[in-house]
Amino acid sequence: MPPLPDPAPIDTDAFSAGLLDPERAAPPHVTGPNGKGAVKRYNVYRNNVTVSLIDALADIFPAVLKLTGENFFRAMAREHVRAHPPRSPLLFRYGRDFADFIAAFEPARPLPYLADVARAERAWLTAYHAADAAPLDPAELAAIPADQIAGARFAAHPAFAVITSPFPVFRIFSMNRDLMDLAPVKMDQAEAILVTRPADIVTVSHLTPAGARFADALAQGLTLGEAAGLALETDPAFDLNGALTALLSAGAFAAVAASDDGGD
């Protein structure tokens, strides 16, 4: 007489282990009606899990997909999904380690800018879901007395992000998200991307390397004077006023305060 079925409840270890591992057999206790085989049936769940997570990455990283082509992208994404399944039920948070995965993914080596494009795309979606805050009104900065302006410190808007790259990442990103007409780019031109959400629309803007250092320093809480010093170190011709005006109109900041000690 065969042993009675194990009355233990669902073995989620076994059921889930096979979902992202095509080499594993179907889990115990899983069956079709009247004891029919259930390999293809269990594979429906395997397919749902793997394909839906690949689709999620495709939705988050459309420019990466465009640059690699559908087949390459899905093969790369499948490896990523199996190695790094999501840890949150909020799929719009997924793919935070996809750029690092791409950087280490041997077949993607001919596209050395691909990981930076992925970073920009991940930052775009993070900005889309970031907390609501009114962008800083430039009048608040203008109200700070001139002798205290160098000591002013900014609070970044929740949607703010800067992505730097040794490649022309702003143009590659923009062209592959249909924000800019396709045109040849020289790969040795370093560009950075500013991501903001003025008027609740995610916006990407071009930053020079010095502009990126300036924006990043302000977002870290350095004073305007300190940030300007770092930017001028990067590029002695850095246009401080132009850069600050551009950041303000892009909605990069949520607040500004004159320094308590009047600047340094």
């Binding site: 009355p7 049936r41 429906v44 839906s52 399944p85 999501p86 900005a127 970031a130 609501d132």
Partner: protein, 319 residues
Amino acid sequence: MTSFLTPVGSAPAAGKTASPGRFAAATSILEDAVPAGAGVGFKPDHLSAILDDPGSVGFLEVHAENYMGDGGPPHRTLERVRLDFPLSLHGVCMSIGGPKPLDEDHLARFAALCERYEPGLISEHLAWSTHEDMFLNDLLPLPYAAETLDHVCDHVDRMQEVTGRRMLLENPATYVLFDNSTMSETDFLAAIVARTGCGLLLDINNVFVSATNHGYSARDYLKAFPLAHVGEIHLAGHTEQEDDEGALLLIDSHNRPVADPVWTLYDEVIARTGPIPTLVEWDSDLPDWPVLRAEAESANAILRRHAPSAPKVRHATPA
């Protein structure tokens, strides 16, 4: 279990003050209740078409997780449609059918959405989707037995406790059975209702898909289903595959019109129950708005046919 027996389709629970501000004006002119008419799953692609077509559907349903970000355009969209439509908040990732306690962070996010958007209905699935901390993004099946019943009831209790509302639990579409199940799905659902006081979301496409896949009669299943506790019905399309032995295997794909046999079963259910809020789900390969609207209108025609003669009464689930 008496603290969250807000009747399905009622205004927000007594004793809960409506959150001030954003919807104060809206709630004074609109009922929060989801009416016993047809609604559709809301997709942002349809936003402008829906706003230009007022009165086209009785309510909208959203997947709660899509609105769990801190801020940004999704909330602007939901704020806007909530001004014009009653809302059903449908969770897809709570993992109520799993053995581990629910994710308290996720529960808090769900409860915050209830506070903010005041849905007339909230629902989740009899399924699991998280294992340890790994999110598998699918509605995975469970065996029906005493121990899984305990888990599910604990989780339903917790969700009702945290949200302060009565929830509806949806029957799943499944592709496998478990040889260690000791109860039928309908007995399992009835036991959950009896122990937790929750209501049920009857997905008739899921009934048809599971019945086809497992070789039983959808009509017999519906005869055994605790229809008195159904607070909402789902209708959706499915696709066809084959199982291990080449037999028909239906997939709950939500990418097509509702199939004719599902409409027939729906008509039979409504004939027995009277009108119940009914949602047409269409989640991928989205059609243009008029196509989805026509699906909702087909549901409305059936609801009207079985509506009691005036005065019209809302379906209310006995507590």
